[in-house]
Symmetry: C2
Subunit: 462 residues, 2 copies
């Protein structure tokens, strides 16, 4: 479904790109094109015309300048682990794969800052940071690239304590559509100078520029980490307990809600013997004294909300197992349904509406006879209903997704808490943002007048 | 120095505004104009042509629509406590004073959210929140309005723990230049939907729109609050100790650096008997167990960095006194210099450059024979040199300010950590932001094509 755009069909892309970067980093190899035609979502694939692998900023500048001159679509590409089709080149053109720009440029423990290129993955980064007693907390599950995580404002299990990408990116080096290079921030921890461009570019999904360097805030590895599971007799009690914990200010590092039905699936596939009831998976970070104190408070408070079982894992093997079981729920679902895809809803709602939103989602799934599990980043009000998808139930699943989104919007929530808009959430942008969508479009138009940057994502410009 | 702009001189503003709001909330009374001609900075005053006091959003819409049609400058005005001339109407026109839009629209303890109108001050808000066991943490010192604080991305003593305004505003209702109304966010704690307009508008200093409603994140009042003072034998040791404390993740709620010379002034004017050496003023928030734990860790760590005195205040009277002494430093300086003004520098630098930046600033002040004190939000790398100003030393003070800013920029910092750009930091915008300044200007131009919104602030558009 490549649209003919600009000079795309009239010029020899490879020949022209050879003027910008070496031939061995420009490819039209079919397998490579195929690998860049799809992400981990259910959205239909679409081939780029060419894939390039820049190694330095200057090459990215050259590519964008060329593409802009000839109105050729450009899609920045990280690990391809997106869940809403952000990197699918629906208009063809040039896909810039950043895998060869994956260096750590600087680790600065005194400033708790690190400067990286966009193609480094979070696990690669954390392996290196660990040697300095540091870590980067944002954990979307997948081993995404830092550039990709910034482009979708990714977050995850640790966001309740450490925030999302927007909270942890201090500065971006961005190549704009016309090839000019800007820095959006500084190395200072806070600033009131000029408009806040860092947050504008974080989450812009490649539609405003290509990131070539990111300055991130990092953290000292906590002295003590304790994981745990708290079992409740009802969803309602679990959510109330979690909300109260946040309200009294316990700095919980992870707090994940898992439905009883999903625990059942976990036990079956992971060989665990967890009590099959609504469970909060927890993690505490801090000094020994503080973690002990937090555990005491949490246990006492949770008991008041009907928590009848509270198990903790203090050693790293136990913790690892616990989080593996939690993280594997998607693979469990996929394994149980070979050859099928999974749609992940991603709404985020105010905490007061969370119980109702989850119950509503469960009802929609069941009433439509679908197979799905629900997992929630409960401290943020963000949850995913992962629903098994095939050719026969596509419309039904889409309708359930839509019902869940509409519910979230009706209570003041958002259609996407962390996966981004991409292709999947475009149709809800007007309902969610109203006239603010026009403001977004006007910013897009002024920064990318030829609409070469990831065209057709987030919103249509016509 | 009012510039003639648009139809400003050819139409009767009061008559036309009477079509939008009642006559008794439109004034050209000289005293009122005078009160809106200046803020708390040293910048020259300039009169508005008229001041209006809207009570509802629809009136703000009407005012902006009218102003936009006739290209008349509009300046949103909160408490007038700005420090960089943001609310000085240098082009005349209409000043919108939001003091009659100061209601709390909703307090929602379950979601830890509150919805307010822009004219409420932070003390008014906290008085009301306290009844619900909640508080809004951002504390810039002055009793600024929430709208004003959002417009400069204000922060202060508690930012090291709770963040700046950008971190605590969940949604803004904004009236744009053409009178259209948008919401920039949602009630969800996180979102990856569309461009992040909330952070774009926070800190835009009235140049992109007028805020008519703000949804803020609030916090449960901590069970225990303990304040303290830690005395060090050198600036270097104090900063190292503070940096280390952050690195190991102690969630300190306030950490303020005060120079020995400033402690001396405090003792003299406040009747205290504090040890006259480099001091960190501290505050800990949390459960009893956690605060005790944090205190133990802090004391032990600080001792390792040469802290030789550590006093704590557990009761509210002692805490109040301690912070009064800290907050009064500016008034002390003003009292000691009747009739004179004070310039506050506001740079923010990476923590690793903080000692050098403070020592450099002290040297500049002393070498120029100026009178000034230095106070630092040390956890953020942000500090203020408050320098006494009169007609005779204006150039010298300006030159010292400039030297301090240039130093901050040379180490990757920012010219303003929390006061904003206004008039005072305009001349550093190009040096700090480079080509990113063009991006800011292009956003301004597309959202306010007639440049009616607080014209002549942050940057010039010619």
């Amino acid at each position: 479904m490549n649209q003919v755009k600009g000079d795309l069909k009239s010029i020899n892309l490879v020949e022209r790109l050879k003027e910008i970067l070496p031939e061995d980093r420009i490819t039209t190899n079919e397998t490579v094109l195929l690998n860049h035609s799809q992400d981990e979502s259910f959205h239909p694939s679409s081939l780029p015309d060419v894939v390039v692998f820049p190694q330095v900023k200057e090459e990215v500048v050259g590519i964008l300048r060329f593409a802009n001159d000839h109105k050729i679509p450009v899609v920045p590409f990280g690990a391809g682990s997106g869940l809403e089709g952000q990197t699918i080149p629906i208009c063809g053109g040039i896909t810039i794969d950043f895998q060869e720009m994956n260096k750590i440029m600087d680790i600065n423990p005194r400033d708790l800052l690190v400067v990286v290129q966009p193609g480094i993955t979070r696990l690669q980064l954390n392996a290196e940071l660990g040697k300095h007693g540091l870590f980067f907390p944002v954990d979307p599950g997948a081993d995404a690239t830092i550039g990709g995580m910034a482009s979708t404002n990714a977050s995850g299990t640790t966001t309740v304590r450490y925030g999302a990408m927007k909270d942890n990116v201090r500065d971006l080096e961005v190549v704009l559509a016309d090839g000019s290079v800007i820095h959006t921030g500084s190395k200072a921890k806070k600033s009131s100078s000029g408009y806040r461009l860092t947050e504008l570019f974080v989450g812009s999904e490649g539609t405003l520029g290509a990131f070539t360097e990111l300055t991130l805030q990092v953290y000292g590895i906590p002295e003590v980490t304790v994981a745990g599971r708290a079992v409740f007799s009802s969803l309602h009690n679990a959510v109330q307990a979690a909300t109260s914990l946040l309200q009294i200010g316990v700095p919980i590092a992870r707090m994940e809600l898992v439905e009883a039905i999903t625990i059942k699936g976990m036990n079956k596939s992971s060989g665990t013997n967890y009590t099959e009831d609504t469970t909060l998976f927890l993690e505490f970070h801090g000094s020994k004294g503080n973690v002990d104190g937090d555990l005491d408070i949490t246990k006492e408070l949770f008991t008041g909300f009907g928590c009848y079982q509270f198990d903790i894992e203090t050693d790293s093997i136990g913790r690892k197992k616990l989080w593996e079981v939690r993280h594997n729920h998607l693979y469990i679902l996929k394994h149980a349904n070979p050859g099928k895809k999974v749609l992940n809803t991603d709404v985020c709602v105010p905490l007061s509406a969370l119980v109702e939103a989850i119950e509503f989602s469960r009802k929609c799934i069941d009433e439509n006879g679908l197979d799905g599990s629900i997992i929630g980043h409960i401290g943020d009000g963000n949850f995913h209903a992962s629903i098994v998808l095939d050719q026969n139930n596509l419309e039904k699943v889409d309708s359930v997704n839509e019902q869940i989104v509409k519910f979230a919007l009706s209570v003041g929530g958002t259609c996407t808490g962390e996966h981004g808009v991409g292709l999947g959430k475009m149709k809800y942008q007007h309902e969610q943002h109203g006239k603010a969508l026009d403001v977004m479009k006007s910013i897009k138009k002024v920064l990318d007048p030829s609409n070469i940057l990831n065209p057709g994502k987030i919103f249509r410009l016509d």
